[in-house]
Symmetry: C2
Subunit: 360 residues, 2 copies
DNA sequence: ACTGGTTCCGTAAACGTTTACGATGCTATA
DNA sequence: TATAGCATCGTAAACGTTTACGGAACCAGT
């Protein structure tokens, strides 16, 4: 004998009453409710997930889909573990559980999603690393599965989303660079089809235009969003004909590899080139200290969870119903890596002048 | 109409036949099987997880339990994402799915495990960060849930495990240090009750004894296993009365913070102190290059999954049944950080001699 | 024509819950 | 006393699958 029946037999009452007692239904006496709760705790009873889900049509599980393997761009991540923690604290308050749905590097993300959602495995979803055009959004919207995206997409089905504020980052960074006299400002963009790359370049382009600076495609450096990418980027940067005097790194890990490459070449951030990057626990240990955009990823997780719950009618009392689409602010924190000043008006340093006039 | 019934009605056959066709049962004609599979694909049918699990008593889901939040010791993790990927590739071959069970920083890990396992949520489990005494092992063994531990524990219920080979690490590192003349060798150990700390210190102690060196408790430095911990450790190290000339860092992230702290103090790894650490994508960008223990975490994930499946009688054909308990080898890879030589026999450098004779 | 065997398929029970419904006993009121 | 209302509980159906069982149809051999 197992499950709720064991409990019922032990207490000599019906399984219906046990269930009502456990679920806080009103039509059960306080006396029996007490006995049931006591016995349940004593016998370590936990309702079977499948039985409950089958009957209720709801699983109380929220999935956070991420891709494993190191080819995803984001390697080395406090990122997800921290966001998870924020999401979990909100969901836990409502008896919901968070699990990470791990799409292996050998499986197609769209097929994976279809499989796991088709199974009726989760009540809601958080998807991340949204692509410029993302079939997952269409799929989830078609099935009207509650979900929220961490990242915007051109695929717009009215879904809620949060996204890091790349507009703000590009704007503030370019403003600061220009104020220090920089005119050749590079930007690091992801090599994949992830949408944030496009958003970033657009924002960067508009920020340049606002200052009357030309857009030079050669200054958009593409690479995987990890340290190795940052290292490769330093090489690409130093090899450019007309070397930029400033660079904005929006990938979390990029700056670490970039520093390594620059310093190896004798180019000191903050002195020979201005760098602004993204903060993370690793970047805190860079030297010279990195001028960086910071934010609380745990709070982002909390916001994500609340916005997701707001799409459930059942939680309308706690979270005002509605779809939130919001840029997640990052604050620019001073470091040493952007302190370089560019002398006004064509007074280029000899080495740069040399580079600039090199034939072809 | 939903689920298998919709499919059956559409094809004008019974749901039993549909189920048999989909599950590859022999007693269904090839013709109808073809029709069923075609229709299933066309209509995007995926069997409901709850219904199937309820009937079969098995979920085809393996859980990998980790703790979120940054206070867990391991922050900054390629680690888990890489191991996940290895596990996933093996499980995927057998139609099993891996999900990460995220225990929030606000919930007790033991209670979390009881809850999620009691629900019958998973067929098997991988637990990590095993404690010196770990109630989770007793719980899982009592319920005879198939599981494997990433990490040893004094709680021995005959469970299979893999663990990083800290014996080998301590032995090789101490050997190398001693060969270069070091006699005061420090070791970094985690501050928590996680078992690897005890294993590590034991191994370190034995390795010292083998060379006739005394064990000095002051040389065992405890800290959280992250960069901040490494940074703090550099301070503690430099503040020691009799400063060690070598240090072994077994935490993945420690070396990064340690480097920062040492270099700030003008102490160059490999020149002024010998350092051996653990490799990871971030440590690849340290300068001077880190002499480090390396391994393939993806292969570790594969091994974990195979050893877990070996405990399922159902997979006896693929994986020889039996419980494997094995140390996962790490190979020592040369870098510059351990190149420092200590002059033989009491010929201490002035500064070190000064430190050693300082009163109290 | 009868038997036995094979192939294919439908029927129905079962998994562990939740919950609508009805039954029972009690109290209060007329 | 009869009735209505209430509190409490048991009964049974339902959720979507899988699978043991049996039945129908067919063929081969006697």
């Amino acid at each position: 004998m197992k499950g709720i029946r064991r409990l019922a037999d032990h207490l000599d009452i019906s399984i219906g009453t046990v269930s009502r007692a456990l679920n806080g239904r009103p039509d059960v006496s306080e006396e029996t409710r007490r006995r049931v709760l006591e016995a349940a705790a004593a016998m370590g009873y936990v309702p079977n997930q499948s039985g409950r889900a089958l009957r209720k049509g709801t699983t109380s599980i929220i999935g956070f889909m991420i891709e494993t393997g190191t080819n995803t761009g984001v390697d080395g991540d406090t990122f997800f573990l921290t966001v998870f923690d924020g999401v979990q604290t909100v969901l836990g308050r409502h008896g919901l559980d968070l699990v990470a749905l791990l799409c292996g590097s050998e499986e197609d993300p769209d097929a994976y999603l279809r499989r796991v959602v088709g199974r009726g495995f989760v009540d809601g979803l958080i998807i991340s690393a949204t692509q410029r055009h993302d079939p997952r959004i269409d799929f989830l919207a078609d099935r009207s599965i509650p979900f929220i995206a961490l990242g915007r997409s051109l695929t717009d089905r009215g879904q809620p989303w949060y996204d890091l504020d790349f507009e703000g980052m590009a704007e503030q960074a370019v403003d600061r660079f220009v104020a220090r006299g920089h005119r050749r400002i590079a930007v690091a963009a992801p090599a994949s089809e992830v949408n944030l790359g496009y958003v970033l370049i657009d924002s960067y382009r508009r920020a340049l235009a606002r200052h009357g600076l030309p857009f030079d495609p050669a200054l958009v450096l593409r690479s995987p969003q990890n340290q190795a990418g940052g290292y490769a980027m330093s090489r690409a940067l130093l090899a450019l004909e007309a070397r930029p005097t400033a660079i904005l790194m929006t990938g979390e890990m990029l700056s670490i590899g970039l520093y390594r490459g620059l310093i190896e070449a004798g180019v000191i951030p903050g002195r020979d080139i201005a760098v602004i990057g993204r903060d993370n626990p690793h970047a805190r240990f860079l030297s010279p200290t990195l001028t960086s955009f910071r934010t609380s990823l745990r709070d982002l997780g909390i916001a994500l969870a609340e916005a997701l719950l707001a799409t459930f009618p059942a939680y309308a009392e706690h979270y005002p119903v509605g779809t939130t689409r919001r840029l997640w602010p990052m604050t620019l924190t001073d470091g040493q890596s952007d302190l370089m000043q560019v002398p006004p008006q064509g007074a280029l340093s000899p080495s740069l002048a040399l580079k600039a006039t090199k034939p072809i």
